[in-house]
């Protein structure tokens, strides 16, 4: 009897010891995340309304202001400071603002602008970014654009501001490609990350799948059934002409290497889908995987030397990483029995994918070494097909949270969710330009 009691006591002590270890491990993890958060310190930027001689169009001035505000706030790197009492009134003030008053409010950067209309009807928008502490202009650009191009010009300057002040390119002047069955057929579309400029790219009335941006963002690689088979095409976005690259058999899920020369894709070998490498210059194909199961959905690491891909070689679809020559295959995910659709962050630090657990799809993140696995979405319909923006701070994905499958963007905390495309007959395969 006493023996069992002692044994229990011993177990209790051991349990306490284990619990304590767990607590201390958790504590150190908390501190780690604190640091990551504190490093992304936001920059305070003052954004007065632009001056304009177009007194008949005050709504344009207000729209420009709201586009800038949305872009800065969505970037996660800026606090837009309201400084309405100090709005500059004269053109001289736009060029040489009274920095003292901005400094007193604690603003680090100031953006001023002037808009007028030329004789040809085009708008001239002059925008300047100032460093308030030193009273200097950092960059000033004059754009000439028709009314339809104003939004894009503001996105461009917002990205310029982010680049000058953080060294990181913004995501506002980018495009997201996706497929939709709006017309009854699966066609490829592109859209701005704020939901504007929706453009239909393919019009072949066939099935078009898995768009992928070329390295320079000038072309889209897609799989299209226009010749009855899933063939690989490249679309030149300048004139929307498409050209077949690989035909006959199955050629799906293209993914360009950052070197601009190679393309990883899935090719079927006698009914067995395997990862292959296609050289865009020599037009030669090299098979990389040789498993008996399905190997598909390759995506390159930003250094171009490794690939993450999906394989069901162990019975359920899981993520694997291998070298670009097909060697050194190692399993990345181990929890859950359905992990697919990977995308590797351009920063290299995360791999996003979707995982089906209890019948529901959600976006998950994992480090390339298999650690820190965690979900970004939960309890909001099915969330699928993540695609990173070019600075690795945002993810585009599809979701059924508002009914039919729409296109959404969120940040890496899983918050700041922005709906981009909704009610278009189901959006699939988003791919964000880099």
């Amino acid at each position: 009897m006493t023996f069992t009691k002692r044994k229990q006591m011993n177990r209790l002590v051991t349990g306490f010891f284990l619990a304590w270890t767990a607590v201390s491990v958790c504590r150190s993890a908390d501190v780690y995340f604190d640091i990551t958060a504190s490093q992304a310190k936001k920059i305070d930027i003052a954004l007065p309304l632009f001056n304009s001689e177009l007194s008949e169009q005050p709504e344009l001035v207000r729209e420009i202001h709201s586009i800038f505000r949305q872009d800065f706030e969505f970037s996660g790197r800026f606090n837009v400071i309201d400084i309405s009492p100090f709005f500059p009134t004269s053109e001289k003030e736009l060029v040489n603002p009274d920095f003292g008053q901005y400094y007193l409010v604690g603003v680090q950067s100031l953006l001023t602008g002037y808009i007028n209309q030329g004789p040809d009807g085009d708008y001239r928008i002059s925008i300047r970014l100032f460093d308030v502490r030193m009273g200097q202009q950092i960059v000033g650009i004059r754009y000439t654009t028709p009314l339809s191009g104003v939004r894009s010009v503001i996105h461009k300057f917002a990205d310029e501001v982010q680049y000058r002040l953080t060294g990181e390119r913004g995501i506002n002047d980018t495009r997201i490609a996706f497929t939709s069955r709006r017309t009854g057929n699966a066609e490829v579309y592109t859209v701005d990350p704020d939901g504007s400029n929706l453009t239909q790219i393919t019009r072949n009335g066939s099935i078009n799948l898995s768009p992928a941006w070329s390295v320079e963002n000038a072309e889209l690689f897609i799989t299209s059934y226009q010749q009855k088979y899933p063939d690989l095409y490249v679309i030149d976005l300048a004139d929307s002409t498409s050209m077949p690259l690989l035909q006959g058999g199955m050629h799906i899920t293209p993914a360009p290497n950052p070197d601009g020369i190679h393309l990883a894709l899935t090719i079927s070998y006698e009914g067995d889908p395997e990862i292959s490498l296609y050289n865009l210059e020599t037009k030669k194909v090299r098979r990389l995987t040789f498993s008996s199961g399905v190997d598909t959905n390759p995506v390159f690491a930003p250094n171009g030397r490794e690939l993450v891909f999906v394989s069901d070689r162990t019975g359920s679809p899981q993520l694997y990483i291998m070298d670009i020559d097909g060697a050194n295959i190692r399993r990345l995910t181990s929890v859950g029995n359905y992990n697919t659709a990977p995308d590797w962050s351009p920063r290299g630090d995360w791999i996003a994918y979707h995982s089906r657990r209890d019948g529901v799809f959600n976006i998950w993140m994992i480090r390339p070494n298999g650690s820190d696995e965690h979900p970004l979405t939960s309890e909001a319909g099915h969330n699928e097909d993540p695609s990173f923006g070019r600075n690795g701070r945002h993810i585009a994905f599809t979701s059924t949270r508002d009914g039919s499958k729409g296109l959404y963007v969120m940040d890496l905390s899983g918050r700041n969710i922005r709906r981009i495309v909704h009610a278009m007959g189901g959006c699939e395969n988003p791919a964000w330009s880099r």
Binding site: V13, F16, W20, S24, K41, S109, Q136, I138
Partner: protein
């Protein structure tokens, strides 16, 4: 008392001793776990695990003989002071390439006089996330580099790209200085370890942070030299 119960008694006595030793060991471990962080907390300000902090010390001029030969950061010849730029001019987007070419030409012109160099002491309180007064992190090789926004940008970008050797006690509180030079377009011309921490992993993690961060945005318009030398100090606080 039969043989069996004797065995049992002997067994339970041994078990008792074993349990006591075991309990003592566990209590000691728990005591250590509780006390060690307290001791450490007293010696180091543990608010931040990792900090890219500032330190104030006179760095040798880049390119002087104190820079290790292996680093070989050559300081390009200073360019001719540019003709006064009209204050706060505007650039047409299409002119950007033209301007870059002009800058390149400017870089090639020989200097009439060598720019003198002196330490540019940065006010750490103006930097976002800047460290305390006792330690600093950046210094540039320029007589006059008032573009604090540019330094703040570099600091933010490099520290975000730095993955310190977590869990390496060897790296704790050690300091490594990376020096690098960027051209007008913000491209990395050269980089190297200027002052080793003695811990290779820490040194390499810092060097990698700089290399991954490049290219930077182009140097400020008002800055006349064709390139900028930067010294960046990394301290690994655990």
């Amino acid at each position: 008392m039969d043989y069996f119960s004797g065995l049992v008694q002997e067994h339970s006595r041994r078990t008792l001793v074993a349990v006591m030793i075991s309990t003592a060991c566990h209590l000691l471990s728990i005591l250590l776990i509780v006390l060690l962080p307290m001791l450490r907390a007293r010696s180091i300000d543990s608010d931040h695990v990792v900090d890219v902090t500032l330190f104030d010390y006179a760095l040798p001029e880049l390119g002087s003989d104190i820079v290790p030969a292996a680093v070989s950061i050559e300081k390009p010849k200073p360019a001719e002071p540019p003709k006064p730029v009209p204050k706060n001019e505007l650039v047409d987007p299409s002119d950007a390439e033209l301007k870059r070419m002009k800058n390149r030409e400017k870089d090639r012109t020989p200097p009439p006089k060598a720019a003198t160099e002196e330490e540019f002491a940065m006010q750490s309180d103006l930097l976002p996330g800047g460290g305390g007064q006792t330690m600093g992190s950046m210094r540039v090789d320029a007589k006059d580099f008032p573009f604090l926004y540019y330094l703040a940008m570099m600091k933010s970008k490099v520290s975000e790209n730095w993955i310190p050797p977590f869990g390496s006690f060897e790296a704790e509180n050690k300091r490594v200085v990376i020096s690098f030079r960027i051209d007008r377009q913000g491209r990395l011309l050269a980089s190297g370890i200027e002052e080793t921490s003695g811990d290779t992993i820490l040194d390499q993690s810092a060097l990698r942070a700089v290399i991954v961060s490049a290219p930077f945005p182009s140097l400020p318009e008002g800055y006349s030299d064709s390139s900028l030398g930067v010294h960046f100090g990394f301290i690994c606080k655990l």
